[in-house]
Amino acid sequence: MNIRAIHYLGLAVLLALPAFAGEPKAKEEPAAQEGIQVPKPPFSEGIFPCTSCHDGKQMKVDTKRRELGMHSEIELKHGPDSRWCLDCHDANSRDNLHLASGEKVLFTESFKLCGQCHGDKLRDWRVGVHGKRTGSWNGPKQYLLCVHCHNPHSPHFKPLKPMPPPMRPEQIRKGGAK
């Protein structure tokens, strides 16, 4: 793990600190977090930091829309006609995302990026109506980032195998019960 990765991990841990738990808060915590604590973004293994490949030396930045040689596992199903990698990923600062305004956003704050279009969801998410909260109903909570449930490249929530149904009463009588 290189230094940058450790830095990000540290940041994620800091963000995860409950804002109102009465513990001394780290001074350098960005005010922009608004007390929202999120776990580490769900990167594919070994993919982050992006600058370990996209360091500006090994490869030239090519902003043209094209079939990529790499990242073939990514299936873009998020408005593919109007959207492309560099609409969200920052071409010059690869370990960041950027908003439509060009303002850089950390991966740990990606909800700001999503909220540009999905503002209603972001509003709901901030107050706990959209998305999953765990922890304590009257104390520190843990939020998930949008991308924990919605793959940003293909955001539709994936179907799941249901867990077993209840036993029918006639099955129980047949000897399920002892």
Binding site: D124, V127, G128, V129, H130, G131, K132, R133, T134, G135, S136, W137, N138, G139, L144, C149, F157, P159, L160, K161, P162, M163, P164, P165, P166, M167, R168, I172, G176, A177, K178
Partner: protein
């Protein structure tokens, strides 16, 4: 009959009961006769004479909890803690479920069984997920609880988990002939399993099918027992009593979310204090389209369904 009464205490070997007051003496005698008559051979004298939970003093509760804990230890070979946490002041619990998000994966059903020490064979489940037709809307004539496709959600369907609605006017409480079930100050409807006589009137009265009966001796492997329990909640139950969802009383009275909220992969389940204007439950009630299930029955649930989109 009266001739029998003096006989029994002497048969007991004249322990503590024989040298107590007249009241104690009679109590023991009655217990012995009742045991003989009802065939409840397994019931200890203490258990038989135990009062309704709401009438017990703090000391009595502690004694009972100690007895239960030692019984559970003997039965499951591990330490099971029976908690007695009271309702927090200024808290009324509310629950909201997002019908536009639930995909019917039943993670909640099984997390609930694990958390609340339900009987495993046959498995008692406190949450029932209904698969309904989108075309029909919330219509129980078009509801299926045994659905089992490869993947959920199925096209054209939505899913509606039903569990205890913790009604403000609970019909189950109204019909209980012995007062073994009641509504706590924080809104949770609880059962005193030691006071329940198993008449199942409450099950007939509940319009949500939220109450479940232990027809057989509840079965649970020792490894499956959740040792963090509450007297009015998930402590292991005996045969012949009714049980129900308690909003995970053992968790929520400590400030935690219920197990079904914690497990839900879609974040459809919202829980909080109805008296706290900033809680997510209040946000839901104030900003979303909300309905109560079978509202026409005037049971006044504190469990709400809403549409998040």
């Amino acid at each position: 009959m009266m001739d029998h009464q003096p006989m029994h205490p002497q048969d007991d070997g004249g322990g503590a009961s024989a040298c107590g007051s007249r009241r104690e003496f009679l109590g023991t005698a009655v217990a012995a006769v009742a045991t003989a008559l009802t065939g409840c051979g397994k019931l200890s004298k203490e258990e038989f004479l135990q009062h309704n939970f709401r009438e017990l003093s703090k000391d009595e509760i502690q004694t009972i909890i100690a007895r239960l804990e030692s019984e559970y230890k003997a039965k499951y070979g591990k330490t099971v803690k029976v908690n007695n946490e009271a309702a927090m002041p200024g808290v009324i619990f509310g629950y909201a479920l997002d019908l536009s998000r639930c995909i019917g994966c039943r993670r909640c059903v099984h997390a609930c069984v694990k958390e609340n020490n339900q009987s495993r064979d046959p498995e008692i489940q406190w949450i029932r997920v209904l698969e309904m037709d989108k075309e029909e809307g919330v219509n129980l004539q078009h509801a299926e609880q045994y659905y089992n496709p490869e993947e959920v959600p199925r096209e054209g369907h939505f899913y509606m988990p039903v569990q205890c609605q913790q009604c403000k006017k609970p019909p189950c409480v109204k019909v209980c002939p012995v007062g073994a079930t009641w509504k706590e100050k924080d809104g949770i409807v609880v059962v005193d399993y030691n006071w329940c006589i198993g008449c199942r009137y409450c099950m007939a009265a509940c319009p949500y099918g939220a109450r479940h009966f232990n027809w057989g001796e509840p079965t649970m492997k020792s490894a499956d027992v959740n040792p963090e329990t509450h007297y009015l909640g998930n402590r292991p139950r005996p045969k012949g009593v009714v049980e129900k969802c308690t909003f995970c009383i053992q968790r929520t009275r400590k400030g935690l979310y219920p197990a079904c909220v914690e497990i839900c992969p879609t974040g459809s389940r919202k829980f909080g204090n109805l008296l706290d204007a900033k809680s997510e439950i209040r946000q839901v009630l104030e900003n979303k389209r909300v309905f109560k299930f079978k509202e026409d029955l005037n049971t006044q649930p504190t469990f709400f369904y809403f549409y998040g989109v």
